[in-house]
Every structure is written in structure tokens, then in C-alpha cells.
């Protein structure tokens, strides 16, 4: 692919922003833990996108390196989160995050 055709920096970053805000909105709207996890993934992914776009803009490998770390993080996070969801579901037979309020002050 020819180098000149790489889209502009702020276009990609704006896309990342849009995706992140969508993820955030989902996080706030949904009560189902599964959906919330998906929204978290969207947010993480948007952040990763921002890294990659920036890295591409400077023609630097660091952006993708950070992407690798983000993806690692996402993997670990999803694993733990899903395990927690399973336990929660086993105990309460619900996936409603609002039921999970034992830490009320």
C-alpha cells in the first residue's frame, strides 16, 4: 500500500474517540455484566486504536508495541472478569450489575 494513502492522524484519532464514547455510553446504559464487559472491550480497543494511529503517524513501532500490551491486558482482564461473572451468576443467578452492591458505604 502506498504510503501517501495513509489517512490523516486526527481522522483516526477521531474514530478512536467515537468508538471510546460509544463504549462508555454502553457501559453506562447496560446493566448486564456481559454487555458491560463487551463495552469495556470496545473502550480498550479504541485506546489501542489511538496508539496505533499515533504510531503510524510518527512511523514508530512503539504504537504497535503498546497495542500488544493493551491486547495482553485485555486478554487477562477478560479472563478474570468472565471468571468473576461465572461466580457471580452461580451465587446470585443474575447478571445484573446493580445487584452487586455489597460495597455500599
Amino acid at each position: 500500500m502506498p504510503i501517501e494513502s495513509i489517512p490523516a492522524l486526527h481522522t483516526g484519532l477521531s474514530l478512536a474517540a467515537v468508538l471510546f464514547c460509544l463504549g462508555l455510553a454502553g457501559l453506562l446504559v447496560r446493566r448486564n455484566i456481559i454487555f458491560m464487559l463487551m463495552c469495556v472491550e470496545i473502550c480498550t480497543n479504541a485506546a489501542a486504536l489511538a496508539f496505533v494511529v499515533a504510531g503510524a503517524h510518527w512511523s514508530d513501532a512503539d504504537g504497535q508495541v503498546m497495542f500488544v500490551f493493551v491486547i495482553t491486558l485485555a486478554a487477562a482482564e477478560v479472563a478474570i472478569a468472565l471468571a468473576l461473572v461465572l461466580q457471580f451468576y452461580r451465587r446470585r443467578y443474575t447478571v445484573d450489575i446493580d445487584q452487586l452492591n455489597a460495597l455500599r458505604g
Binding site: L24, L27, L28, M36, I97, D98, G105
Partner: protein, 611 residues
């Protein structure tokens, strides 16, 4: 000279035995043994005193004895021995305490025969004698204070002896607390003396005083503070209110503590510290004025009382007023002489009154008595002798001592003066109330209670009554040689009419008593407003109640939960409130946290955008 040490030791041992046995065994001692220990210990002390007087003091007016038992404490300049000092003043007091004390102990064996607290009674009484002996024997003011408080404690215990009645407890507490107020003044006086003269040994203090100028304000202040103590203990104005209430105790107790010995401790204190008082005109006038006022006030109150013991109580206050008056005019030996004769005749009066009360099954209202003359003649004669002495009829003991006081008052101010006049008026009043009492109880119509009167005297009671009667009659001949202690008193020669008035005043009082009680309706005077005012002891109780007791108790009750604690519980409540405020945000809702996070981010970015 350990004989001296044994004198207070014996009653102490008696006390210890009597109080300790119930702690270790459930069976009380047989009453005979209790009486033997209680009376025996004081009797032995009396014998030892007599022995001491005979061997060391007889014919030797300058005799003195010092005995240091051990070093009490010695801290950096404050050195005190647990030591005794004996001179003629002490000896007089010792004789009174052990002698009268012994007789009253003996009387008590009869009077208290059927009481459940027989052993406790004698334990307290022995402790009292011990403390009183320490008081008079002490060679330093702290040891004196020890005895001083000790007798106060015993007074408290014995006033409240019949503890089941809360009124007795209240009277006992009142006695202790009121005297404690005086004692606090006295102890501050001790601190002042120590700070100024670096010693509390009486002998050293007196020699230190010889270098001090007359009317030095420090001396005046110290003397006034000591006077505060004396006033409290001796029930003088303004701390006299406890003594009438103290009659709640058994009658022999009233005789011993509240007539013969303890209440005269104030007189003893001032006499003992007379060089201090003599240095200050102001203190002397204060003593004299306190005495004169108390004398009249209490005398008037005695005029209208209806309780036989309260009459005697006010009479005691009044008579101690005489002693203070005497001290205030420098008649030290006169005061002590009157102290001695008063001990005899007032103990006699109280014991006789006790016989009456016992005979009438614990009836104390004199308006329900009357005409007892024929029913209990022995008691009547004792009472008659007592009243005659109290009124200071010529050739009774009271006459000699009171006469000396009045003459000294005349001399001290070189002629006619208010103090002397108060003394004469007091003599008149004394004659009035003493014979009013006698007439109401033993003469006139029979009262409601008189009909079932019995003669309650038994041998144990007759003997002390008889001996005291003799002492009261002849005590005037026993004027102790106190010149070595007080210095020789210059004998003044007032005009004859002064002496005549002194003799005539009590007779006039007796005539008034006859007129008021036998010729007229006896109860009339009591109904008037003035009578009621006097009856209440010049309203002092109410005054103190409104001014001091009520505010104090109210304040104390209001603050029961400690206002300072509010400070801390307030702090705790405030932090809890704050915590509640903040913890609302910690609601456990994950989405709420996320939203807050988002809002925070938005706000933060808004800052970036705007700036």
C-alpha cells in the same frame, strides 16, 4: 514516759478489738465483754491520767512533758514527729476527756443496753476518745489535725448511729461537711503557718512568733483561718447549724461529743495557739465578736425550742460562745475553766435528759412532758443541779467560771463594752431558757407523755449521774493552775455593781422563766413570728440551703453527664455526620462509579477546552 502514750493507746486498742472481732467471726461478743472492753479501756485511761496528774503535775504548776513516739515524716524541711506534749492545759483536757468520757461510757452501758449495735457503738465511742486524746496531746498542728478530723469522723458515725433513718444520716453528713468547711480553712491556715514559719510544731511555732511584730497581716490571716476551723468544730457562727441537727445521735453521744468534749476542741485550739491570736487585735476581736453573737443568737433559739435535746444543743452553742468570748478578751484560763465546768454540767444535763427520754419511751417534746418531778426524783435533782450550774447560780461551778469571763471582758476593754453587755444579756437568757426547760419538764401540769413515765435509771446510769452532779456542783473549786501555759492574768477590780449585775442577771432570767412557763401559757411565746424565727435557728439553715446547697446540688445534677464529655461526643457525632455525608457516594453501584468517573473526565476536559 510511756504512760502518756498508753492513754490514747488504750481506747484505740479497745476500738480495734471491738471493730475487728466481727470482721473475723460471725458471733458477736457477749455484751458484758463489750462493755468491759469499752468502758474499761477508757476507765484505765482515766486512771492513767489521774496517776500522771498525781505523780508529775500535782503541786507543780510549771510541769511539762514531751514525748516523741517516732518521726512521723520529714520531707525537705517539713519535719514532724508523732509526738505528745503535756502541760496543765493538756492535763485539764485529758482529765475532762477521760473522766467525763469514762462516766458517759459507763452510762451508755445502761442506756444502750438493748440496742442491736451495742458493740459498734462502743467501738465508735472508744475511737472517739482516742482521737480526742490525740487532739489534745498533739505537739504539732498536723497531729492535732489528725485528732481533729478523727473526732469529726466519730461524730459523724455516732450521729448517724441509727443508720436506718435517712434523717439521721443527713444530720450526720451535715455535721461532717459543715465542720469540714471549717477544717479546710484551718488546714489552709496550717499551710500559711508552715510557709511563713517553716514549722508546724506548736512549741517551735510559738517561739517563732516571739520575733513577729504584733498585727502582722500574715499572723492575722493565719489566726483567722485557724478560727475558721475552730468555728466549724465548735459550732459557732456562721457554722453553727450542724449542732442542733446532731442531736439525732444517741443521747450519751450528745453528752460526750456534742457537749463535753469535741465541740470544745475549737476553744482548745485557740487556747493552745493563744500566742498567735494574742498577736493580732483583729483576730482577737473576731473571736470575741463571734463568741458574743453566737452566745446571744443560740440563747434566743434555745428559748423557743420544743425538743429537750435541741434546747440543750442551742445551750451548748451558746455556752461555747461564752468560751469564745472569753478567748477573745484574753481570758484564756477562764475559757478553759468554763470549758471544764461546762463539760461537767452539760454532760450531766444531757445524761439526765437521756434518762427522761428513756423513761418516756423516746419522747423528746417538752410540751408533752411536765410534772415529772415526783415520778423521777433522782433525775430531777440531777437536772436541777445541771440547770443551776448552767444558769450560773452562785456557788455552782458555772458561777465561778462565768463570773471570771464577765470580769475579764470588763477588764479587757477597761470598762463598759458591748462584749461584756452581750455576756450579761447571755447570762439572763441562759437563766431563762435553762429554767424554762426545767419548769416545763418537771413542774406544772402533767403532759400527755408523762402518764406512762417510768424510772429508767439503772445502776450503770445512776452512778455517772451522781458523780457528774457532784462534779458540777463542786467543779468551781477545781480551778486548774494554768498560769504556766497562759501567763499570769492580772486580776482586775471592776466596780461592785458590775459584779452585782453579773450575779443578778441569771436570777432575773429565772424569774422570767417562772413568769413565762408557770404563770402564763408556756407555748405562747413560740407562736409569734419572732418565736418561729428563733425556733428555726435564725433562718441560717434556709439561708444556706438557698445560697449554697440548692445551687450546688442543682448544678451537680444538671452536669451529671459531664458537659466536657459533650465536647468529645460532639466531635464524634460531627465526624459521623461527615462520614454519612461522604459515604452516600459510596453506594456500591458500579455504574454509578463509572458515571462519576466519566463526569469527572468531562469536567476535567472541559477545563482543558476552556482554558
Amino acid at each position: 514516759m510511756t504512760v502518756v502514750a498508753w492513754i490514747p493507746m488504750l481506747p484505740l486498742l479497745g476500738f480495734l478489738v471491738l471493730i475487728a472481732t466481727p470482721l473475723f467471726s460471725d458471733r458477736p461478743l457477749p455484751p458484758k465483754l463489750v462493755a468491759a472492753i469499752g468502758v474499761g479501756s477508757v476507765g484505765l485511761a482515766a486512771i492513767l491520767t489521774a496517776f500522771l496528774a498525781a505523780t508529775q503535775f500535782a503541786g507543780n504548776p510549771a510541769a511539762e512533758l514531751n514525748l516523741s513516739l517516732w518521726q512521723w515524716f520529714s520531707v525537705d524541711g517539713l519535719q514532724l514527729d508523732f509526738g505528745f506534749h503535756l502541760d496543765w492545759l493538756t492535763l485539764v483536757m485529758l482529765s475532762v476527756v477521760t473522766g467525763v468520757g469514762f462516766l458517759i461510757h459507763l452510762y451508755s452501758t445502761g442506756y444502750m443496753r438493748d440496742d442491736a449495735g451495742y458493740q459498734r457503738y462502743f467501738a465508735y465511742l472508744n475511737l472517739f476518745v482516742c482521737a480526742m486524746l490525740l487532739l489534745v496531746l498533739a505537739d504539732n498542728l498536723v497531729l492535732l489535725y489528725l485528732g481533729w478530723e478523727g473526732v469529726g469522723l466519730c461524730s459523724y458515725l455516732l450521729i448517724g448511729f441509727w443508720y436506718r433513718d435517712p434523717a439521721n444520716g443527713a444530720a450526720a453528713r451535715k455535721a461532717f461537711v459543715v465542720t469540714r468547711i471549717g477544717d479546710t480553712a484551718m488546714v489552709i491556715g496550717l499551710f500559711l503557718l508552715f510557709t511563713e514559719f517553716a514549722t508546724l510544731d506548736i512549741g517551735e511555732l510559738i517561739s517563732a512568733l516571739s520575733t513577729v511584730q504584733a498585727n502582722d497581716p500574715r499572723v492575722t490571716l493565719a489566726a483567722l483561718l485557724l478560727l475558721g476551723g475552730a468555728v466549724g468544730k465548735s459550732a459557732q457562727l456562721p457554722l453553727q447549724t450542724w449542732l442542733p441537727d446532731a442531736m439525732a445521735g444517741p443521747t450519751p453521744v450528745s453528752a460526750l461529743i456534742h457537749a463535753a468534749t469535741m465541740v470544745t476542741a475549737g476553744v482548745y485550739l485557740i487556747a493552745r495557739m493563744h500566742p498567735l491570736f494574742a498577736l493580732s487585735d483583729m483576730a482577737m476581736s473576731a473571736v470575741a465578736i463571734v463568741g458574743a453573737l453566737t452566745l446571744l443568737l443560740a440563747g434566743c433559739s434555745a428559748l423557743v425550742q420544743s425538743d429537750i435535746k435541741r434546747v440543750l444543743a442551742y445551750s451548748t452553742i451558746s455556752q461555747i460562745g461564752y468560751m469564745f468570748l472569753a478567748l477573745g478578751v484574753g481570758a484564756w484560763s477562764g475559757a478553759i475553766f468554763h470549758l471544764m465546768t461546762h463539760a461537767f454540767f452539760k454532760a450531766l444535763l444531757f445524761l439526765a435528759a437521756g434518762s427522761v427520754i428513756l423513761g418516756l419511751h423516746h419522747e423528746q417534746d417538752i410540751f408533752r412532758m411536765g410534772g415529772l418531778r415526783r415520778k423521777i426524783p433522782f433525775t430531777f435533782f440531777c437536772f436541777l443541779i445541771g440547770c443551776a450550774c448552767l444558769a450560773a447560780l452562785p456557788f455552782t461551778s458555772g458561777f465561778y467560771s462565768k463570773d471570771r469571763i464577765l470580769l475579764s471582758a470588763w477588764d479587757f476593754y477597761h470598762g463598759f463594752n458591748g462584749i461584756w453587755l452581750a455576756g450579761v444579756l447571755g447570762a439572763l437568757v441562759t437563766g431563762f431558757y435553762s429554767f424554762r426547760l426545767l419548769f416545763l419538764v418537771f413542774f406544772g401540769r402533767e403532759g400527755e407523755a408523762s402518764s406512762h413515765c417510768r424510772d429508767a435509771n439503772n445502776t450503770a446510769m445512776v452512778l455517772p449521774l451522781g458523780m457528774l452532779a457532784v462534779l458540777a456542783l463542786l467543779g468551781g473549786l477545781l480551778a486548774p493552775p494554768l498560769q504556766s501555759v497562759f501567763g499570769a492574768a492580772g486580776a482586775g477590780h471592776p466596780p461592785l455593781w458590775v459584779e452585782a449585775i453579773a450575779v443578778a442577771a441569771p436570777l432575773a432570767g429565772i424569774a422570767m422563766a417562772w413568769w413565762a412557763c408557770l404563770y402564763n401559757d408556756p407555748a405562747r411565746g413560740e407562736q409569734s413570728a419572732l418565736g418561729r424565727f428563733w425556733y428555726s435557728g435564725w433562718g441560717f439553715d434556709r439561708l444556706y440551703d438557698t445560697l449554697l446547697v440548692k445551687p450546688f446540688t442543682t448544678l451537680a445534677r444538671l452536669n451529671r453527664n459531664d458537659v466536657i464529655d459533650r465536647l468529645y461526643s460532639g466531635t464524634a457525632a460531627a465526624s459521623r455526620q461527615l462520614h454519612g455525608l461522604v459515604s452516600v457516594s459510596q453506594n456500591g453501584q458500579v455504574r454509578w462509579y463509572i458515571a462519576t468517573l466519566a463526569v469527572g473526565t468531562v469536567l476535567f476536559l472541559a477545563l482543558l477546552v476552556v482554558l
